[in-house]
């Protein structure tokens, strides 16, 4: 097994670590950096719980090796709130019952962060399409879809 020195930026902070080649980005974030907000569900790219942003685009953190993100910028769910305040998307989840057990929530939030950046005025169908890569076993998705549409409205009002 090979080991590699990597340097990356996570949520605006620089890290330098040495990693074993087979360590996934998800395990690296959780175990090496202590950022346990990124959840691991299926570990084969189906459930979407481990979704993070790499250079601004969503990716399954269970399907990337940490060594592959050397020199990249990663954003995790810990990077969303600022100064202890939930961001508009997170607040919309709380207000619209967008979560129950919360296991899928970090992945939902990261997927919708990219989606709402690229789609300022989405339809309900657009939101449901965007969420096909994230599984929730509690809510039936109704609250999540409502939260996404509410967040889109709030973000438009913010300008």
């Amino acid at each position: 097994m090979s080991h590699h020195a990597i340097a990356l930026n996570v949520n605006g902070k620089s890290y330098e670590r040495t990693v074993e080649a087979r360590i996934t980005l998800a395990d690296f974030l959780r175990d090496a950096l202590g950022l346990t907000g990124t959840h691991l569900g299926c570990e084969h790219g189906v459930c979407g719980a481990c979704t993070v942003l790499v250079d601004g685009h969503t990716a399954r953190a269970c399907l990337l090796f940490a060594v592959q993100v050397n020199g990249r910028e990663v954003t995790t769910v810990e990077g969303l709130a600022a100064d202890g305040m939930l961001n508009p998307l997170q607040q919309a989840f709380q207000d619209n019952h967008g979560l129950q057990c919360g296991f899928c929530t970090p992945g939902m939030l990261m997927t919708l962060t990219e989606f709402l950046r690229d789609h300022r005025d989405p339809s309900e169908a657009d939101v449901r399409e965007a969420l096909t890569g994230n599984l929730c076993r509690c809510t039936g998705y109704a609250g999540i879809v409502a939260a996404a549409l509410d967040a889109a409205r709030r973000l438009r009002e913010e300008g």
Binding site: R22, G45, T58, A59, R60, C62, A130, T132, G133
Partner: protein, 294 residues
């Protein structure tokens, strides 16, 4: 659900990558990793070496060359989905891309990786089959260019040798303004298709078919061209009856039965999806076709 230990290599040049693949035992190429890494996590695949092509120069991008759209093997599905050149020259490819996985997997997955993985239900191999794509492959014995018909050899199998690397895909262009259709049936959005159909269509102003290509995925171990249906349509006027007769020939496919669908159901889907994809293509070509539901 963790991969077995391996050594990771990140070559910067194709020569270096080819040298590594030739020299290392039990090595695999890492492209986007959206199919390979799940298999590694399950330990269906255990490698001693991974050769990551992400930093190799010259394997990305889309350009017109010699009457074909040249696509670097490491070009991501996302880049292709939003490429103006793809939308203009190969609209079939663009439409098929929207059926592949999800935003998160298309952001990382590559066209070369998808072709070499060769899942029988995958969309991109069907598009390559319809377009009569040519695949550029490089190894220590040099470069070869293989027609897609010879590239796909069976269930998740291709002609690529273990020490070779797919570097590019060439899609020979159809005439400007040609029509296309892509239809698939999957149990959930983003799932692999139970049956999918890619259609390319060129019709004369009098609605006679100059050329048509019909390729199916999900119904056999690798993509299937419906040559009989293509022959039936070619040089004849395209209308609802012709489409119905051509689609009926899709029932001749020999699908596999699995936990998701039986062979009979897949044959039914193959016919219905073929009819719908041909109808989409005909409408885009300006031919009004009444769609029967069935």
């Amino acid at each position: 659900m963790k991969p077995a230990a391996f050594d990771y290599h990140a070559p910067r040049t194709l020569e270096e990558a080819v040298g590594l693949m030739a020299a290392l035992d039990n090595a695999k190429v890492l492209a986007g990793g959206q199919s390979l890494v799940p298999m590694m996590n399950f330990r269906y695949v255990i490698v001693d070496h991974l050769v990551d092509l992400a930093q190799v120069q010259g394997l990305r991008g889309v350009r017109l060359a010699d009457g074909a759209l040249w696509i670097g093997a490491m070009t991501s599905q996302r880049e292709l989905e939003f490429s103006a050149e793809v939308a203009l020259q190969c609209p079939l490819l663009q439409e098929a891309l929207t059926h592949i996985g999800h935003r998160q997997t298309r952001n990382r997955g590559t066209i070369g990786g998808s072709l070499v993985h060769a899942d029988p239900a995958a969309e991109l191999p069907a598009v390559c089959a319809a377009h009569d794509a040519e695949i550029e492959i490089v190894g220590k014995r040099g470069q070869r260019v293989v027609p897609f018909q010879e590239f796909a050899t069976g269930f998740m199998a291709t002609i690529v040798e273990p020490d070779e690397i797919v570097t590019a895909i060439r899609l020979p262009l159809w005439p400007a303004g040609h029509a296309h259709g892509f239809q698939e049936f999957a149990r959930r959005r983003g799932d692999f298709a139970l049956a999918g159909v890619a259609v390319l269509l060129d019709v004369a102003p009098d609605a006679r078919v100059r050329r048509v290509a019909i390729a199916l995925c999900g119904v056999a171990s690798s993509p299937v061209r419906l040559r009989d249906a293509e022959s039936l349509l070619t040089a004849n006027r395209l209308d609802a009856a012709a489409i119905k007769a051509a689609a009926a020939l899709a029932r001749d496919v020999q699908p596999l039965s699995d936990i998701h669908a039986g062979a009979d159901y897949r044959r039914h889907l193959a016919e219905v999806m073929t009819r719908r994809a041909l109808t989409d293509a005909a409408r885009r070509a300006g031919i009004s076709v009444a769609m029967e539901r069935a």
